[in-house]
Amino acid sequence: MQSHKSMDKFTNFRSIVESHQEKVRTTCFRYVHNAEDADDIAQEVFVQVYESLTHFREDAELSTWIYRIAVNKSLDFLRKKKRKKRFAQLTTLFGFDEGKEEIILPASGDPQQDMEANEQKHVLNTAIERLPENQQTVITLSKYQGFSNKEIADIMKLSLSAVEALMHRAKKNLHKRLYNYYEKIA
């Protein structure tokens, strides 16, 4: 009986991992910008999901919860990284870029255009990274991951109006940062 139950749990768990892994991995990647770190965080997300699987019955509740863990774990990772950075200023002194990587998009055939696109992606990611955490989260979940405001509100445990206000501020701040950047290099 026990083994039958645990087998059921594993089968159920496997289908959860298979249906959510890509979105969870990408969500983590949007925060950490490193595929290995993103995979590592995403694996931790599913370990936590497995350990608390029995508490969830409804699929909608479960998926919201999974993305909430993914966001929190990614932010925790960034906080730890920032703390480490403060104690290891030497790396920046020597100009190392801590394994930051972009997903390589299929080449358009125009190297100049590809280079510009990569540069724009880098500028965009840097501007997003410098937003306050909650604004960074609404922008990432909405613009990159395609979640609706209602879904974001569920993931962040906020009201819909709070998410809308946050989104408005995030867009405004993002625009301001990009404007300052392009004004400086113009």
Binding site: R14, E18, E22, R25, F29, E44, V47, I103
Partner: protein, 108 residues
């Protein structure tokens, strides 16, 4: 195109990158790695309890033995009294009653 318009154009192009963001390439070993991580945690907790169980058992046995030892040694120290008067005096001294108060135990 003035400077402000040019910057706005660059911002629009940069924000367009949201639309071109790709997904991470699939990782076929993802589930296997999650499963390995779970197994490893399970194993670690087994090892932890394998050490903890005998340690707890040893503590329990030690507590039992010391309690039994204490019980036996206390039992040997019990003073035998032969008469009622002796018992009253003994209790009086245990309760630190002075001579005037010791008669409160003499209810006869």
């Amino acid at each position: 195109m003035n400077k402000k318009e040019k910057i706005e154009q660059q911002i629009r192009e940069t924000l367009d990158q949201f639309e071109h963001a790709d997904q991470l390439p699939p990782n076929p070993f993802f589930y296997t790695r999650v499963k390995a991580r779970l197994d490893e945690r399970h194993q670690q907790s087994h090892v932890f309890f394998a050490i903890l169980k005998p340690a707890l058992l040893a503590v329990l046995v030690a507590m039992n033995l010391s309690t039994a030892f204490w019980y036996v040694s206390v039992d040997n120290q019990v003073t035998q009294v032969d008469s009622h008067q002796e018992l009253i005096e003994l209790l009086g001294s245990d309760l630190k009653l002075d001579n005037n108060q010791s008669n409160i135990l003499d209810y006869k």
